[in-house]
Amino acid sequence: MFLKDYISEVYNGVSSLLKGMRKTGYYFTHSKEIITEQYPDNRATLKLADRFKGEVVMPHDENNEHTCTGCTACELACPNGTIKIITKFDITPEGKKKKAIDAFIYRLEMCTLCNLCVAACPSDAIKMAPNFEHSVFDRSKLTKILNNPGSKIKEGIE
């Protein structure tokens, strides 16, 4: 029936509008819902999500040891040549030669933070860090060496 359809149409329209207004009205009256980060002011307490990808870092433990074997899987996985690994050969106490990294060069200015290097790494030597304050006055400062000076590979990582 035409009139019944018409009235139910108007009723449905009004009720859906009211539903929307109830939602926004809830947000208006509940100030704790505000999600704005007042960034430079709250720098001390700023907490970013764990999955935030800001730059590639190589974690070192307290003995200044990392787990990078210098396999260059990340260098091959990188789509735009951001990573360059320079390897060297250490002499182990048994007199054998062992492959190790000399410098893990990471060019932040070329990185698209695509996470492919982290996914390719077989020994979980690198990861993404939630750091985003990268501005510097000189572009060359964005080229970083990720392994700490004097660091060596952790025992038992092949």
Partner: protein, 358 residues
Amino acid sequence: MLSLESITKTTQDWLFAKFSPQIALTIECVIVILLAITLFAVLGLVLVLLERKVAARIQIRLGPNRVGPGGIFQTAADTLKLIMKEGLTPDAADKFLFNLAPFIVMMVAMLLLAPIAFAKNFQIWDINIGVLYISSVSSLSVIGILMAGWASNNKYSLLGAMRSGAQIVSYELSAGFAVLTIVVLTGSLQISDIVAAQENGWWLFKGHIPVIIAFVLYIIAVTAETNRAPFDLAEAESELTAGFHTEYSGMKFALFFLAEYINIFIVCAIGATLFLGGWMPLHIGHWENFNHVMDYIPSSVWFMVKTFFLIFLIMWFRWTFPRLRVDQLLNLEWKYLLPISLFNLLLVTVIAIMGWYF
């Protein structure tokens, strides 16, 4: 007690005692004009800030919070920026009409201020056709928009102006019918009579469901008439850059912007007068004590609270609903609002004749 009524009365008596009637009248006119301009400037600053704050809260943001405590000087800073900016006139524009249009829009907004009762016995011009005056003069604002759209010589402006014209001309009808329901109940077009009729209860409460329907229709129609979202097709940013004021900059743009907010204030003031009793305090039946407490609140405060409540309602609409398409806009008016308001008017007439309201 110091009230706006006594201030105006003393001023008038003093002026008429000091000067000849004609000079006194001229001085009064100048005072009224200055007050109106001051009101406009203050309203512009306050409403723009309010809108940005309301928008921010509804979108779970903070809004302007850097200029002054809580960002209260943000709009003053914006105004300063607009004053400093160059008012460009496009080369191919019709320069005379292009420069005239913002003033037309502003003048119409100013004329609409005349019959509004801001407080008890505080009104610029208690014209005997009050409500009709408002609906007739507000139909002039479309001319300013059409003029701006055509004179800019820009396709976006022209399209925006055409849309705005179609929208205002059609929504005027249901706004008029919603106003008529109250006129039928009161039996007068005069604003002071309409307010006086609500002494023992506002029409929204006295008039049963038909008046509530009329109130909803009025709010929808005036939202469309003031070109506010969800009916802001005339300046739809995503399709028409800025609609009819695309080519305007600096102070000429500021006038359009200001006129939009003044128009919102005026339609909300009229809505508050018609449905919420204007400056009348809230009285409930026979609760004498409660009514006495309510009487102590000045009438101007009542008026402003009601008006700002309606303004908030319209802002709430703006930040909740998405924009309508042109065909949806016209469907809403001609298939829903107009038939409902016609039927509603008939119902209210029956109620008024039978005396079924309180």
